[in-house]
Subunit: 256 residues, 2 copies
């Protein structure tokens, strides 16, 4: 199982939208995919039509040892081949609860290990912070995708995220690598967008995916139908962008 | 001094943009305004042209007692009558550092008390989480403004935010009240936006400001010039919306 984490402490840059649609698009390609919601907001859980507050067993119970078998918290989704480990607001208590546990940063890594034979890919959605939960995701990860909105505030936090990834790579997880920087909410007609795109390429070079995710209202409408946009409206520009992303990622896998 | 907190744990809903432009618009009206950046991302600090990583004294040093006199961390801005208490990434250490201090939730309240005679209004920008820093802001606050993007994911976290505000009101700060829910990124032409606006009015009634903040790329461009949009491009729709908001808030003050 390959584990891909979607992380960026900047709020609202498209982490959940990327996690949900990438996971669904990979499943539509025939892969066995596990989506893990590691954000107490539970938006990836909501995005597949589950009500977070009604769930008894979520990633919180598994991380804190209240549930021993991680297989028992895996939920079905409407997309064949795609399963979900949900989250709800109780997860915000994990930070303090796990703070003094030995090995607190690898609880997720150990939990996912017992699921590794059942899935080809695991996608993890993170909250907008660099806290113990996001650290758990980075320790469990093979790759990180960094969604970046083409706005000024979006650029500033990247240095700090890269430093954090470097530290995790050095101290906890030498497999970890940046798979790519994904530009989101792209509107070719605005100058700001063009400027930021250029700055990203200057700063990150080939790490920036060729695929960009355009601003598309359907991406924001799909969650209210409890679906990923790639199944809700597959011919929409936003969906096509995520299909393109999967193609670009798959191509690289073969060529290595 | 009246203290207004801009809070919502949903990322990217326009907290910083609202804090920066509201503070500037109030200062342009002739009030003495203090803007406090309580987000380790330091975006409100960036928004006025300061480089967070180059600052020696920020709100972190004051909250943790490294600086005794809060007056020494107040910075000037290009807007007359507007001062700033900056933040940088070190602030993310405050959470753990203050965790076991008695009175940890009122560090900010006590610090701002010694500045109260120098300002009419204090505006506080929060990070996208409900942690000890946001708790400090709510304990110090007279009023909360909740920016809400007109998207599906934006609605879900509101219940939790309201519960948190209720708890703070009950246990720590009986002055605290919700000043209003501010709809942001509004685009009248999309169905999703109209639906969410209606849902907000159904749920919140008069708590929803009549003023809405439209999507306007100038609001996103202004920070790269180190300015609030209301001074960067005062005739822009985004700026006009914030001037409207100040008018709507001022009117209420008089009519009470
Ligand atoms: N390309 C896009 N075009 C239009 N809307 C989008 C796009 N991507 C995401 N959205 C919408 O913008 C909002 C923010 O996106 P999303 O919630 O995925 O970001 P996030 O980084 O997960 O936020 P948070 O930091 O709160 O976790 C959501 O309402 C989502 O539906
Ligand atoms: N009304 C608007 N129209 C267009 N762009 C906007 C608007 N309001 C904010 N923005 C831009 O959208 C992005 C998100 O806004 P902002 O950073 O203010 O949200 P936030 O809630 O403070 O985010 P965070 O959760 O990361 O603190 C920024 O790049 C900002 O410049
Ligand atoms: Mg999210
Ligand atoms: Mg902000």
């Amino acid at each position: 199982m390959k584990t891909i984490v979607i992380a960026n402490q900047k709020g609202g840059c498209g982490k959940t939208t990327t996690a949900v649609n990438l996971a669904a698009a990979l499943a539509l390609q025939g892969r066995r995919v596990l989506l893990v919601d590691l954000d107490p907001q539970g938006h990836a859980t909501l995005g597949f039509g589950y009500r977070p507050e009604r769930l008894d067993w979520t990633v919180y119970e598994a991380l804190t040892g209240r549930v021993a078998d991680w297989r028992s918290i895996v939920l079905e989704t409407a997309v064949g081949g795609l399963r979900l480990i949900p989250a709800n607001i109780l997860l915000s208590g994990a930070e303090v609860e796990l703070a003094h546990w030995p090995g607190r940063e690898s609880r997720l890594l150990r939990g996912l290990a017992c699921l590794a034979d059942r899935f080809d890919v695991c996608v993890i959605d993170c909250s907008p912070s660099l806290n113990l939960l996001t650290l758990n995701a980075l320790v469990a990860a093979d790759e990180v995708i960094i969604p970046v909105q083409t706005h000024y505030y979006a650029i500033e936090g990247l240095k700090q995220l890269l430093e954090t990834i470097d530290i995790v790579h050095g101290r906890f997880n030498s497999r970890l690598r940046i798979r790519g920087v994904l530009l989101t909410f792209v509107e070719n007609r605005t100058l700001l967008c063009q400027q930021v795109r250029q700055q990203m390429r200057d700063f990150f070079g080939d790490l920036v995916f060729k695929t960009v995710i355009h601003r598309s209202i359907r991406l924001a409408e799909a969650p209210s139908a409890g679906q990923a946009c790639v199944t809700f409206d597959p011919s929409n520009l936003g969906s096509k962008d995520y299909f393109e992303l999967v193609k670009e990622m798959s191509y690289e896998v073969q060529s290595r």
